[in-house]
């Protein structure tokens, strides 16, 4: 193709500049709604620039071709985009979306719960069968001591051992638990194997602690200690597992006649909604664990802590089961 480049550029550059201006405005104002004539003009400019790119492909100055290619790519991504933009999502939707995503994928949550219960059962049986297994299953300094001795020490303490550290302890718990949950979620990309292992291990620890304290007759202390923060923390971990299983299900496919990319794209929104929900839950759980769960009788009677935990669990259940439901 014979192309007089300077003359060609002089003739076309005004169109390219106009197209770039429209694209910049679309980037800066996501809510901009074009009029019919503006849409037609935008389409025309895109097609004209694309046609120019085809002509330049034959022979051209590389920088010009590269910049025009970038411009056409931007216009292409705008014109051919059919997914809804974030600007159309209302804040009420964001508030209820985690609950709706939770309900949409009940099977994944059941699987997450099932794996955790299996882990709990193993932890329970292992401790009840031989208390020496505690050293293997609960290698944490706070859990190694005898439950009876710990309860006696906590209830007779004259001073609050977390005095002056509660805020930083709370922040550490929040960030640690969110990291672990995100990791559990992300392990869904290992076809769910990593998610299963993490949920199972979490269940083992939970079952072992329960067996240890209940076996020592410290049920009230255990429930009063775990329920206030556990009513949010344990469901949050289960929801992380649920989100991980969504990724795993999309990765595996199970004979669905849809490409991997499409399966993952469909799941992405719900995974993000669940991640946002669980992060919020863990922020709350971190505050409760530092400021309430670690205070024991006589500072805070167990009945108060258990009631508080039950109210929290009920509120969470109500949110997850009812929020965002449409009236029929």
């Amino acid at each position: 193709m014979i192309l007089n480049l300077p003359r060609f550029v002089a003739a076309e550059s005004a169109c390219w500049a106009e197209l770039e201006t429209m694209l910049n405005r679309l980037d800066a104002e996501p809510n901009w709604r074009m009029s019919t004539s503006e849409v037609q003009r935008f389409q025309y400019l895109y097609e004209r620039s694309a046609a120019a790119l085809v002509r330049l492909d034959e022979f051209s100055e590389p920088e010009l071709r590269s910049s025009l290619q970038a411009l056409v790519a931007r216009a292409y991504s705008t014109i051919h985009e059919t997914r809804s933009s974030r600007a159309s999502v209302r804040w009420q939707t964001w508030l209820t979306e985690p609950a709706r995503a939770f309900r949409r994928h009940g099977a994944a949550f059941s699987l997450s719960l099932g794996v955790t219960i299996l882990g709990c059962a193993l932890g329970w049986i292992a401790i009840r069968a031989d208390s020496h297994n505690k050293a293997v299953l609960l290698p944490f300094p706070g859990l190694m001591e005898s439950p009876g001795e710990r309860v006696a020490a906590e209830e007779s303490a004259k001073t609050d051992r977390l005095q002056g550290q509660k805020a930083s302890f709370s922040a550490t718990l929040m960030t640690h638990n969110i990291r672990v949950s995100i990791f559990t979620l992300g392990c869904g990309m290992t076809w769910g194997v990593g998610t299963v292992l993490l949920l199972f291990y979490n269940g083992v620890v939970l079952g072992a602690v329960a067996a240890d304290y209940i076996g020592a007759g410290q049920t009230a202390f255990l429930v009063g200690w775990l329920l206030p923060h556990g009513s949010f923390e344990i469901p949050a971990i289960l929801i992380a597992g649920q989100a991980g299983f969504l990724l795993a299900a999309a990765l595996i496919g199970w004979g669905r006649p849809v490409s991997l990319a499409d399966r993952l794209r469909v799941m992405r929104h719900d995974v993000i909604a669940l991640a946002g929900g669980l992060a919020t839950m863990l922020v709350w759980a971190g505050m409760v664990e530092a400021f309430i769960s670690q205070s024991h009788r006589p500072v805070l009677p167990y009945s108060v802590k258990i009631t508080f935990g039950i109210v929290e669990a009920s509120a969470l259940a109500a949110y997850l089961l009812l929020a965002g439901r449409t009236k029929t």
Binding site: A50, E61, E63, S168, T175
Partner: protein, 256 residues
């Protein structure tokens, strides 16, 4: 599975454009810059947070922990969203995250690819993510696969400095516009690029090699489009090649 070096997108209008895929090594360098930026940012924030120690060291400590966490999580998400697929490291290395289909990058894609860094980083030094990137066709780590994104390289294309390469006051080849047009038709962009490279390095050649190289190039161009003898008889081979390049990239008429 073999890795591709470019993502080609063909629009319904039949226009094809290509994105050059970033290599894992370039991405690692960009990430190293990002890690340094995050470290600087958290250090600065930690120092600012010390002001809150007036209200109590406990709260100052809590804020420091939260800021460190938020910066490490939000750095990639916010920058890639605000800068349309780029972080500081990616800007420096001229990389950009884009949708794998060439469409607009969605916020959920940015969030997913950044959240899944936790797995890609395992067990250390991005071993999982790096290994996956090496074996996937589009050089994607797990986060990219889940988010449906790719990382592309945006090469910095230098403008051709014709004045430096072919500073010809009078280009006699342009006195024959139909032949110059035929030349533009027959010389491919790749060949022109190689010749421009040769011209830009001409002062570094041994004199004999320089004469031989431009002699061969001039013969090649003469075989493509012969110009009238009286037009080129006074030109050396190197001047002839410079004249050809000048004629390819400009359409000015010969002027004295």
């Amino acid at each position: 599975m073999t890795a591709e070096s470019a993502l080609r997108v063909e629009t319904p209008e039949g226009v094809v454009f290509a994105f050059s895929l970033a290599s894992p090594l370039t991405r690692a360098l960009a990430y190293a810059i990002d890690v340094a930026a995050i470290a600087v940012l958290t250090t600065v924030l930690s120092n600012i947070v010390r002001i809150f120690a007036i209200a109590g060291t406990d709260w100052a400590g809590a804020l420091a922990v939260l800021f460190t966490f938020l910066v490490s999580i939000a750095y990639g998400i916010l920058l890639e969203w605000r800068w349309r697929g780029q972080t500081l490291g990616k800007r420096v290395m001229r990389l950009r995250v884009i949708d794998a289909g060439g469409l607009r990058l969605e916020f959920t894609q940015v969030v997913v690819r950044n959240l899944l860094r936790a797995v890609d980083m395992l067990p250390a030094l991005y071993l999982v993510g790096g290994s996956v990137a090496f074996v996937t066709r589009k050089c994607q780590r797990l986060g990219d696969l889940a988010a449906g994104t790719i990382v592309v390289h945006e090469p910095q294309v230098q403008a051709i400095d014709l004045e430096q390469i072919a500073p010809i006051e009078y280009n006699s080849l342009l006195a024959h516009p139909h032949l110059a047009a035929r030349l533009r038709n027959r010389v491919s962009a790749e060949v022109a690029g190689v010749v421009i490279k040769a011209l830009s390095l001409r002062d570094s050649y041994e004199p004999s090699a320089r004469v031989a190289l431009f002699g061969e190039l001039a013969s090649y161009f003469r075989s493509l489009v012969p110009f009238p003898e009286e037009t080129v008889e006074a030109l050396t081979d190197e001047q002839y090649v410079r004249g050809v390049i000048s004629a390819l990239y400009t359409a000015k008429r010969a002027t004295k």
